[in-house]
C-alpha cells in the first residue's frame, strides 16, 4: 500500500512540476495575466477618477446677455461656483461653442415687466451634450430658484401674507447610509466582478494550452502512454492553471486596494474598508472559485474539436459569470439569503462585497459554500479523467 502511495506521490510531484513549468513559462498566458490584472483595474479606476474630476469641477462660465436690464439679478448670481460675465450682445449658440458653459439671456423689457408683476421670461441656453454645460445650467437654475423664493416671500410679506401659506410643509431628505454601505452599493458589484473576470481571463490561455493545445501538439498521447491515472493528470493541470488565475486575481486585488487608497473616495462619501484580514479572507474565498473556473475551462477545452474551437467556447464562457451576476443584481432576488450563498459564484460575490466594505461574513456559510464549490471541482475532475479516456481525444474516430 505504501509503495503505491510513494509511487503516486512521485508521479504527482513530477506532473505538478511539469504543468507548473509549462504554465508559468507560457509568455502569452503571463502577458494576458499581467496585462489584464494591472491595466484593467487601472483603466476602470482611471475612468472613474476622470468622471469624478469632471463631476467635481467647481466653476462654470455663465454669459449673461442683456444683464443691464436686470442688474440686481446679475448681481445675485455672482459668487459661488458661477463665473458671471456680462455681455452686451451675442448669439447664444455661438457663445456656447466658445468658452461659456451656459448663456442667460435677459430681455430688454425685464425690469418693466418685473415691476408690473408680469413674470418676465428669462432664457437659459445650454448644450446638454456638454457635461459641464448641463451641470452649469443646473447650478444657475438652483441659484435662480433660491432668488425667486426670496423675492416671492418678500412680495407676500408686503401684502401681509405669511410665506408659509404657499408651503404647507418642508421636506428635508436625510441620507442614513454610511460610507461603508455606499461603498458596498457602488463597489460591491464592480470589485467582485472584476476579480471573478480576472480569474476567467487569466486562466483561459493556459487552460486551452494545457488541454486543446496539448492535443493539437499530439503530446497528450505520450502523456496518456504513461502509467498515470486520469485524475492525476487533470488535478495537475487544474492546479497549475489555478495558480496563474489566482495570482492574477490577487494582483488585481492588490492594484485595486492601492488605487482605492490613492483615490479621493471619501469626497464622494464612499469608503473601501477592507483591512489586511479582509484582504486575506477575500484571497482565500477566491481560491475554490479559481479551481472551479480552471477545471471548467479545461473540461470545455478537452471537449472542443480544436484549439480554435476551444478559444471560441471559452470566450463565450468568460462573459457568463458577469452576465449572471449583473442579471441577478438587477433582479429582485434576495441574494443575501443563506441558500444563495451556497451557490458557487453568487456566494463568492456576496462575501467579497461584504468583506470589501469591512462587514463580517458568516464563517459557517462561507465554509459551506466553499465546500459546495470544491465538491463541484471534484466532480469536474472525475468527468475530466473520463474525458481523457475518450478515443476521439487521440484523433481516432
Amino acid at each position: 500500500m505504501s509503495i503505491f502511495r510513494n509511487m503516486r506521490s512521485r508521479q504527482m510531484r513530477g506532473l505538478l512540476l511539469k504543468e507548473f513549468r509549462e504554465v508559468w513559462r507560457d509568455r502569452r498566458a503571463l502577458g494576458i495575466t499581467l496585462g489584464f490584472t494591472l491595466l484593467f483595474p487601472l483603466l476602470m479606476i482611471g475612468s472613474g477618477a476622470l468622471s469624478y474630476k469632471v463631476m467635481s469641477e467647481t466653476s462654470f462660465a455663465v454669459a449673461v446677455v442683456g444683464g443691464e436690464h436686470a442688474p440686481l439679478l446679475e448681481e445675485q448670481l455672482r459668487g459661488g461656483d458661477l463665473r458671471i460675465e456680462p455681455l452686451q450682445g451675442g448669439v447664444p449658440q455661438e457663445l456656447l461653442q466658445g468658452k461659456y458653459d451656459v448663456v442667460l439671456q435677459i430681455g430688454k423689457n425685464f425690469a418693466e415687466d418685473y415691476r408690473d408683476l408680469l413674470s418676465p421670461t428669462v432664457y437659459l441656453y445650454v448644450d446638454s451634450a456638454d457635461k459641464s454645460g448641463g451641470r452649469g445650467a443646473q447650478r444657475v437654475q438652483e441659484q435662480l430658484a433660491r432668488l425667486q423664493q426670496t423675492i416671492m416671500q418678500q412680495r407676500l410679506a408686503v401684502r401681509g401674507i405669511a410665506a408659509q401659506t404657499l408651503s404647507p410643509w418642508q421636506l428635508e431628505v436625510r441620507d442614513v447610509s454610511t460610507p461603508s454601505s455606499r461603498g458596498v452599493a457602488i463597489l460591491g458589484l464592480m470589485v467582485p466582478v472584476l476579480l471573478i473576470m480576472g480569474l476567467m481571463v487569466c486562466s483561459t490561455a493556459p487552460s486551452i494550452d494545457t488541454s486543446a493545445g496539448e492535443r493539437e501538439r499530439m503530446s497528450v498521447e505520450i502523456l496518456l502512454q504513461q502509467p498515470l491515472s486520469g485524475w492525476q493528470v487533470v488535478v495537475a493541470k487544474v492546479l497549475a492553471v489555478t495558480s496563474i488565475a489566482w495570482f492574477g486575481a490577487l494582483l488585481s486585488l492588490a492594484v485595486l486596494t492601492i488605487s482605492f487608497s490613492l483615490l479621493p473616495l471619501a469626497e464622494i462619501g464612499v469608503r473601501f474598508s477592507a483591512g489586511l484580514s479582509e484582504l486575506i479572507a477575500m484571497s482565500i474565498i477566491l481560491l475554490p472559485l479559481a479551481l472551479l473556473v480552471a477545471v471548467l475551462q479545461i473540461l470545455l477545452s478537452l471537449r472542443s474539436r480544436s484549439f480554435k474551437d476551444a478559444q471560441v467556447q471559452l470566450s463565450i464562457l468568460q462573459a457568463l459569470p458577469v452576465t449572471l451576476l449583473v442579471g441577478l443584481k438587477l433582479s429582485n432576488i434576495e441574494l443575501d439569503a443563506p441558500i444563495w450563498q451556497l451557490v458557487p459564484l453568487v456566494g463568492q460575490q456576496q462575501w467579497l462585497s461584504a468583506l470589501m466594505a469591512g462587514e463580517p461574513i458568516s464563517t459557517r456559510l462561507a465554509l459551506a459554500g466553499s465546500v459546495v464549490t470544491l465538491s463541484l471541482v471534484g466532480l469536474c475532475i472525475l468527468v475530466g479523467a473520463r474525458a481523457l479516456r475518450r478515443e476521439s481525444l487521440l484523433g481516432a474516430t
Binding site: R13, G14, R21, L228
Partner: protein, 249 residues
C-alpha cells in the same frame, strides 16, 4: 513478449484491423512493415492500452493492457509518429518528468537520466528547451524518453525518421544493445536496409491484417523476390504495377 491475438477494430463502421494476429518475441527485433493507413498506429495504440479492441486480445509481458493498463505502460517504451515534446521544458526537465511518471525518484531517477544522457549523446542538448530542435534532435529526445525507465518492451514508429547518419547509427547501436539485453523491440520502418540490418523477423501488414511474416530471407523465399522491398510490395499490394505502388508511400 508482445502478443496480438485476433484483434478487430473499426472506426465509424470502417474496419481498421481485421483479426490481426502476431507476436514479437523477447530478445528480438521485430519489424512491422505496412503502407500508410495499413493500421500500424491503431495496432500500436491498442498495445499501449490507449484504444480498446472491439474483439480479440493483446498481451504485453503476459498482461492485457485493457485489464492492467498501468502495469503494461510501465513495461512499455513508445516512440510514436509524433515526438510529443514539451517545448517550454529543457531536455533534462522533460526526461525527468517522464522518469517520475514511471515511478522513478531520487538517485534511481538521477542514474536513469545520466544513463540515457550518455547512451544517446544528449549532453549538448541537456539544458536547452526543446523549442526549435531539429527533427533529428527531437527524435533523439523522444527516444530517450521511451528508454529512460528501461522498459522491457520497446515500440518504435519509424524511429530513424529525420535522423542524420550519425544519429541513425547511434540508434541502431542502442537497439542492438537493448536486444542483447533481452528487450522486446517492435518497430515500423519504410527503410528496407534498416529492416534488414536490425530485424530478426518481419511482419508485413496490409488492410489491417498480417499478410506475411518471417525472417527477411524467409519472406524473400516465400515471394520468390530477390530483395526485401519487392517481397514487401508483392505481399502488401499483390499484382499492382510499379507506377501505382509509389502512391502508397
Amino acid at each position: 513478449m508482445i502478443r496480438v491475438d485476433s484483434v478487430y477494430k473499426k472506426f465509424a463502421a470502417k474496419p481498421i484491423l481485421r483479426n490481426l494476429s502476431f507476436s514479437a518475441a523477447d530478445g528480438q527485433v521485430t519489424a512491422l512493415l505496412g503502407a500508410n493507413g495499413a493500421g500500424k498506429t491503431t495496432c500500436l495504440r491498442i498495445i499501449a492500452g490507449l484504444l480498446k479492441a472491439d474483439r480479440g486480445k493483446v498481451f504485453v509481458g503476459g498482461l492485457e493492457p485493457s485489464q492492467h493498463p498501468k502495469d503494461v505502460r510501465r513495461q512499455l517504451g513508445i516512440v510514436g509518429d509524433r515526438e510529443g515534446l514539451y517545448e517550454r521544458l529543457t531536455v533534462a526537465e522533460y526526461l525527468s518528468f517522464f522518469a517520475s511518471a514511471q515511478g522513478l525518484a531520487g538517485t534511481e531517477l538521477e542514474e536513469a537520466l545520466l544513463a540515457v544522457k550518455g547512451e544517446l549523446e544528449l549532453s549538448d542538448l541537456w539544458n536547452r528547451r526543446t523549442k526549435g530542435f531539429s527533427q533529428g534532435e527531437r527524435m533523439k529526445v523522444s527516444l530517450a524518453r521511451a528508454l529512460v525507465h528501461r522498459p522491457a518492451h520497446l515500440i518504435l514508429d519509424e524511429p530513424t525518421r529525420g535522423l542524420d547518419v550519425l544519429a541513425a547509427r547511434l540508434l541502431r547501436k542502442t537497439l542492438l544493445r537493448l536486444r542483447s539485453e533481452g528487450s522486446t523491440i517492435l518497430f515500423s520502418s519504410h527503410i528496407m536496409a534498416e529492416v534488414l540490418e536490425l530485424s530478426d523477423s518481419v511482419l508485413v501488414m496490409a488492410d489491417g491484417a498480417i499478410v506475411g511474416s518471417g525472417t527477411p530471407d524467409e519472406l524473400m523465399a516465400q515471394t520468390g523476390c530477390g530483395n526485401l522491398e519487392d517481397s514487401f510490395v508483392r505481399l502488401a499490394y499483390g499484382d499492382l504495377r510499379e507506377g501505382s505502388r509509389h502512391e502508397y508511400f
